[in-house]
């Protein structure tokens, strides 16, 4: 039996007819074509599918699309405003907080949620707050730095092979 659901996705009202077993992540990716939300595991470990549901970070592979009926969903595609990437998105690039980019959308969404709950987290709080998101490329070092940079707090950088910071691409 099909269900009609109404979901606000990235500020736009959507009305869709879906199968009851359709996962939210596949609704976003396949039905709406929002392919920025990724799937990285079968068991809700990796967090690549993280989106905001009414402002709260959730793994969209563990929800059915019908559970989002009447709710507000924000995906990675919804974080930029008026063509400007968010402070967190810019910080991930400036601090080299991504390599292959596959975990990045979920990681950025989780980090955004973390700062919405705790605007000035310690390193330990950042690491704890991102435990639900696996990154296999960065060793998390530059992800932690990116979140610190996005807080606007002064970051004490550990020793590094270069004294010069990243040069922005104009």
């Amino acid at each position: 039996m099909k269900h009609i659901i109404r979901v606000n996705v990235n500020g736009a009202a959507q009305e869709s007819t879906v199968d009851p077993r359709l996962l939210l992540v596949h609704y976003l990716r396949e039905t709406l074509g929002l392919t920025g939300t990724h799937v990285g595991c079968d068991t809700s470990q990796c967090g690549a599918c993280t989106v905001l549901l009414d402002g709260q970070a959730v793994k969209s592979c563990t929800l059915f699309a019908v559970q989002a009926d009447g709710h507000r969903v924000t995906t990675i595609e919804g974080l930029a405003q008026d063509g400007q990437v968010s402070r967190m998105q810019e910080a991930f690039s400036a601090q080299h907080g991504l390599q292959c980019g596959y975990c990045t959308p979920g990681m950025i969404v989780s980090a955004t949620y973390l700062l919405s709950q705790n605007p000035h987290p310690s390193e330990t709080e950042i690491r704890h707050g991102l435990e639900g998101n696996i990154c296999r490329c960065t060793g998390y070092h530059n992800i932690v730095k990116a979140v610190q940079a996005a807080t606007g707090d002064a970051v004490e950088a550990p020793a590094s092979r270069t004294a010069t910071g990243p040069v922005a691409v104009s």
Binding site: G40, T75, Q89, C100, R136, N142, A159, P166, V169
Partner: protein
Amino acid sequence: MASANVGASVQRHEDPKLITGAGTYVDDIKLPGMLYVGIVRSPHAHARITRIDVEAARRHPRAKAVITGQEVRARQKAPLPISWRIPPDIQTPDHWAMATEKVHYVGEPVAAVLVDDRYAIEDVMDLVEVDYEPLPAVTGPEQALAAGAPLIHEELGTNKAYTFSAANGDTDAAFSTAPVVVKQRLINQRLAPVSLETRGIVAQYNYPMSELTMWSSTQTPHITRTHVAEMLGLPENKVRVIAPDVGGGFGSKLNILPEDFIVPLLAVIGGHPVKWIEGRSENLMNTVHGRDMVDAVEIAADQDGTIRGVRATIYADLGAYCRFFAAGLPVLAGLMLPGNYKIPAFKVDIHVAYTNKLFVDAYRGAGRPEATYAIERIMDLLADELKMDPAELRRKNFVQAADWPYTSPTGLAYDSGNYGPLLDKMLTMTGYADLRRQYDAHNAPNPAVRKGIGLAAYVEIAGWGPGQATKGFGVANQLFGSATVRVNRSGTVEVLSGASGHGQGHATSWAQIAADQLGISHTQVSVIEGDTAMIQTGTGTFASRSVSVDGAGVHIAAKRIHDKMLQIAAHQLEAAAEDLEIVDGQITVKGVPGRAVSFQQVAYSANVAHDLPPGLEPGLEETAFFDPANFTYPFGVHLATVDVDTETGETRITRYLAVDDCGNVINPMIVDGQVHGGVAQGVAQALWEEVVYDEHGQLISGTLMDYGVPLSSDLPMIETGSTVTPSPVNPLGVKGVGEAGTIAATPVIVNAVMDALSGLGVRHIDMPLRPEKVWRAIRDQSGPTAQGGTP
């Protein structure tokens, strides 16, 4: 070397799409009429297939096709390729994409379904009925080589793949006369690469044109094209392979695996575009594993720590088949075992076997982590035996700068190196001497939480590679670099590269390299990789090869463009080309600022054939194929400090320092990032990760709930430092850095934990050093009473 381009931490060009969700990975590709592939796999490690019935599956309303092993085998023109055949007498079974009569590991494909609804894949697969007659399984190399072991491939008459030995000097004499001999058996456990994006393939076949297009999450699109064409019996120029954005690889995506035949075959016979996306459990079960070697190592030394000799016996488990580069990995583990040290007598014997487990192949480091782990663990055990500081023992035995040109005991000519000063830098960064004193004082009263310091030196073999040398090694595929640089009419630049990045930042580093030669900004350069229709040939990205081989190609091609543009400008300025230079997009007569023509103007002239010197071809496009004269040998020292809780067995890394010498550096930010990620994977092997099979060959670690990849809360910040010893074998002086961290980190962590436990009688614990294992080792030494009884 440092300019606005090369040597600067330029923010990555590829990031804007990846931070906004606008990247295109394979699963993001949707074609009209696309069907979905599911692969039915063996639940047994070793069994005869007695019956397959697919009729019920074919009747499912969503099923479009169901094929079995026999049908697939009938269409496969060549078995899955093996590139590296070493030694020449290696015995290899033919590896077909699907099992027909017998299955050899859990997960081996036996049938495939094609459906028109992704959610119906499992429904249809469930209807495929396969009957098996289970056979006894072989799960370890020593067991596989024992007399009377069940045969995995009857046609070979043995489970042995090969034996290989290398020797230099008189090890028997060294070991019989040396005052100190230390031995240890070391297990390098099986690992899963776990790129966050699993593998996936979209394939489309154009019937009237007999053309196949395949989008694949691969590190090696050109190699894939060659072999997919061969297996399907299509001309190579009718197959196009595209690697879109690729979500990590770590070696697991350089291979040609069963799905690389099954999925395009279904596009050919199904008449529709098809998509196969690997599930995570499929990935852990069916995409190559890495490591799985056991080393028995012994070292002979004088009382002052001077090494007299090293002997090792390696048992390696290839799994059920010999994959693309897999045969070479135990050999590399043996040839690189002497590491950074002068070893007058060296011998290694290698025994390689097939078992009823998934095939192994290259995983980040691929043979070098095993070598480094063996030598760096035995060095620490020797230091412990001699009561010598492990840093001093290493320094005493290092190959010295004055020893170059240096050839290792196994005949490898290291390109360049300077190990002592790098160790000094590490010890200074650490505050080593003070820290040793503090830790000794801390541990003296036998506290519950003990502190340890571990370090390891490494030298690896990277930059794969020189054609003639790799032919000598028995590698069949190309390893040289390729790059095309072209300048458009508007003055923008495109670099096409035969590497195939998947997170390494080539779009940025290649732009920096080209811009550096062309006297323009890297922002004017875009980089294209991963499409066999656009790039004539390529090797792909693996084995820390891209920058020193393909990056060098970019440099050479850009230099040729530079020279041609100067020729054109010389004609237009009525000057000699050797008097000209390109600075900030202007081609000027050196020392005469007013006499100039813009880069863009010369680009226009070349592309419309106006005002060219007589006889000069129009256009601005140059291709370079770079075949390096030798491998590169990056090196470094890593160090970690740990807290080990003796009551829980838990290890906490309190500091991790990496000093690496990868020659000249194009983008320090990217190099640091490669080190961070490599270290995380090496630390993970030391502490958490392990692919586990039971005695029946059943995979126990089949999900990310069971296979412990590190989380953000498991790891510390990583302090990085460097020395710079340029490589003489490529024009950039670079060595490569992708695998360094993974190679160094495992012995560093194990050495640190053993250092923390020194004095408790625990000499060695095999990886991963999970709390339960560490706790047991302490308890077994201390006796149950001392640790408060058995649980």
